[in-house]
Symmetry: C3
Subunit: 365 residues, 3 copies
Amino acid sequence: MSGKNILFSVLLLFVPVSIAAHILEWGELTVFITAGLAILPLAAWMGSATEELAVVVGPTLGGLLNATFGNATELIIAIVALNAGLVDVVKASITGSIIGNLLLVMGLSMLLGGLRYKEQEFQPVVARVNASLMNLAAIAILIPTAVDFTSSGISEATIQHLSIAIAIVLMAVYIMTLVFSMKTHVYLYDAGVAAAEPSEDDAEEAKSKLWVWVGVLLGATILVAVESELLVDALEVATSQLGLTALFTGVVLVPIIGNAAEHATAVTVAMKNKMDLSVSVALGSSLQIALFVAPVLVITGWMLGQPMDLNFNPFELVAVAVSVLIANSISSDGRSNWLEGTLLLAAYAVLGLAFYFHPVIDGIG
Amino acid sequence: MSGKNILFSVLLLFVPVSIAAHILEWGELTVFITAGLAILPLAAWMGSATEELAVVVGPTLGGLLNATFGNATELIIAIVALNAGLVDVVKASITGSIIGNLLLVMGLSMLLGGLRYKEQEFQPVVARVNASLMNLAAIAILIPTAVDFTSSGISEATIQHLSIAIAIVLMAVYIMTLVFSMKTHVYLYDAGVAAAEPSEDDAEEAKSKLWVWVGVLLGATILVAVESELLVDALEVATSQLGLTALFTGVVLVPIIGNAAEHATAVTVAMKNKMDLSVSVALGSSLQIALFVAPVLVITGWMLGQPMDLNFNPFELVAVAVSVLIANSISSDGRSNWLEGTLLLAAYAVLGLAFYFHPVIDGIG
Amino acid sequence: MSGKNILFSVLLLFVPVSIAAHILEWGELTVFITAGLAILPLAAWMGSATEELAVVVGPTLGGLLNATFGNATELIIAIVALNAGLVDVVKASITGSIIGNLLLVMGLSMLLGGLRYKEQEFQPVVARVNASLMNLAAIAILIPTAVDFTSSGISEATIQHLSIAIAIVLMAVYIMTLVFSMKTHVYLYDAGVAAAEPSEDDAEEAKSKLWVWVGVLLGATILVAVESELLVDALEVATSQLGLTALFTGVVLVPIIGNAAEHATAVTVAMKNKMDLSVSVALGSSLQIALFVAPVLVITGWMLGQPMDLNFNPFELVAVAVSVLIANSISSDGRSNWLEGTLLLAAYAVLGLAFYFHPVIDGIG
């Protein structure tokens, strides 16, 4: 823990550095890198704070809390980018976040957890409900792309209308999911907790620090917003200096920065064999992006006059479909081992390579 | 029950009304709506009759009986439409029926059943065999579309030959499935019955009314044919007056009318916690459409000189693939709850919206 | 057994016959057919030798041994063809081998095994790990095709670089898989063995013949190379005389010849109810082609100056995807019956028909 804390404290230095880089005009690339580095510890602190809070409020609510505040980073960056007119980067970062959580976060958790424990278990019923939710979410956000791809010509307005209608369906499903997990079928989610439940001492200690962590959470959230402005302003110039396409930046770079909190939390708890919480963070985060963040951005974009639809690059469709497929195939039996973690990471590597080599198309870039 | 019966009796009034509308030329739209409404109670009566007969003959044969007579409505409408040259509507109604049974019928059953019972169970082995059958069926009927979509130019005759060859494979699989479920592996299908088995009194009562229900079945079947003629004759003019594309009509409207029997039966038995029968009706009906109705129509169309191939709109391919995916992911564990029902309905809503907004392409419409 | 042996002995006569046909110039078609027939018993003897050796070294290593020497036939034919510049045939034979092992070999095993035993079981955990590996492999080798298909223009060099990068990821995964199955999680693979373990007498007998079988293995391997040269030289002229496209030849004919060893082994052990070994041969062979043979060929082709990428015909992508889907759906529960075997064979028939009717496109042919 202390090693991690020291690293995070050092990275926090990039908060003032990035602001200085912006004011003193040290170049877009410097601002982009320092702002990106500054967001990492902020998101990680949000993660740590959330984990501590999760101990007090219980794993289910804790998992939700984790996903919410991990996605807060994501949502803040996305709204800032949407406001700056970077619609394609925002869309790419939605698919990238889903892919990143399912493959990179869950893969790292299962690999590092699996190196310590031969086999790790989590609630199969919850895993299966989540798999079905993930299937629905993937289908829903990718249907507009499929409609566009299979028709010879479709107006932008029609895609926009279809996207808004689907966004409303997704939000309704999201609310239903909360009713299910917090009201009608709470016991399914509690069943997996017994093994992972912390000792009473831990809980006592956590409670006493409750307000400290709430403060950390709020402070980090505000700084993330600030840094997101710097990151987004510098993004276009910086990534073209690095020779990267906007597609690669949106799908790979932005989500890694935005999902640092999930990484930190999911991997840490996996190494403590709290696999229920770990999978809940990774899958839950993907679900929340698809069922909550994406619809919010469609409607926000519409209100900001930056019309954002759910019409993605067809290769993003392929990437999300295969990610959901392999993540479900690995998680649905409620068990994991290091090889399964490796497979998820390999799938992420393959997709990352493909996005790296994919030539820029459509409006992207 | 009596409320349902009253509703159905009232709807039966549309049988004479629709015939009057046709003869007195009250307009195509009036004929279309009244004939559609007239088919609903007829199909529903067929469903009730079938459910009663199923009590006597046992759930397995009963499930088959249900699927056959539910699809009789479908098959009658399709053959009438095929004869009238509406090949694209017939093809759309095949995919629509598969989607409708998997998502709408099974979704409503799981939702309404799940509101009464926290968790409902059904035979997982049968569910898995059905899932594999459904995968095969979806693959088979969609391969011609994939061949067309991935080749730069293919003759109509080649697609027709490929479709007939596949139709023969599907029929052979269908016969094998009957041998499996009724001869070599009967015990798998019986295992789920014990819980759902009716009391001896029910069985006695049902037996005494056996011939009444057989009569209802035959009468309803004949009237459905009559009404199908009216429906099909009015279809093109009526739907264009409503501003709907032929694709939407074929995929959404026609199957809802044609599958009313499955709806009534599957939902009713789900609410009585006979989930084995309910799932068997919904999945069985989809299977029978893919493995039996579609091949019959390919061969019938060929004989009627209205060559019907299995080359669908590529978006229909996407829609069937995702429907099978999510239906299998939800049904393969042999358990259901209201949220899973909601997910199926949400998937149906998303696809319905997509078909509504999908611009007309190819020969469709 | 003796019937099989007599058949194989007779087929061995085609070894001298094919060589004579080549030297005496009896025509390309004659050479192609006789060389193909000569490879069948050679590959089958390799299979028999491997099965005997497997008894000595144990099922896990035995399964690996089977897959290696089955794929040796495949690999030899492929390298000879690659050297002759038949890149498209080699690529088609990779997808064809994956499809053939998953559907034809596993289908025949489950069907013929299932006719003798009502239900057959195998290790579900191993089946699930294999299913996830198969998903990853399918994704990886098909991603370059998806990149090409979804971009408006991509250079051959980019596809080549992407293919080599992916080949390296796949080889790394392959090594990890060996570490997993032979070192960290051996117990998973051993668990299924108890039931299939041969009696001590069999093992004694096998040991005494160990060197005989090693000799058979080496002799057959050399002859396969010789015959492969004849087969490949005659391939183009012969198949065009038969009216077959190069795509059909590569996807259907070459893999059937190349996979004869897997057929013989997998079916024979399935009929002895050693289903763990049977599934391990069929799935393992597909995995090894995707994770080992394909990457080796990409790198070999690059070194031979016959650049081979992983950019397939889009319909091959569809065919591999659906094969993996249905094979996983059938194998992941660790049970099989004759209907499931029939379904796999029906899927193979449907795909075979589609490849037969698919018009020649791109560089293929």
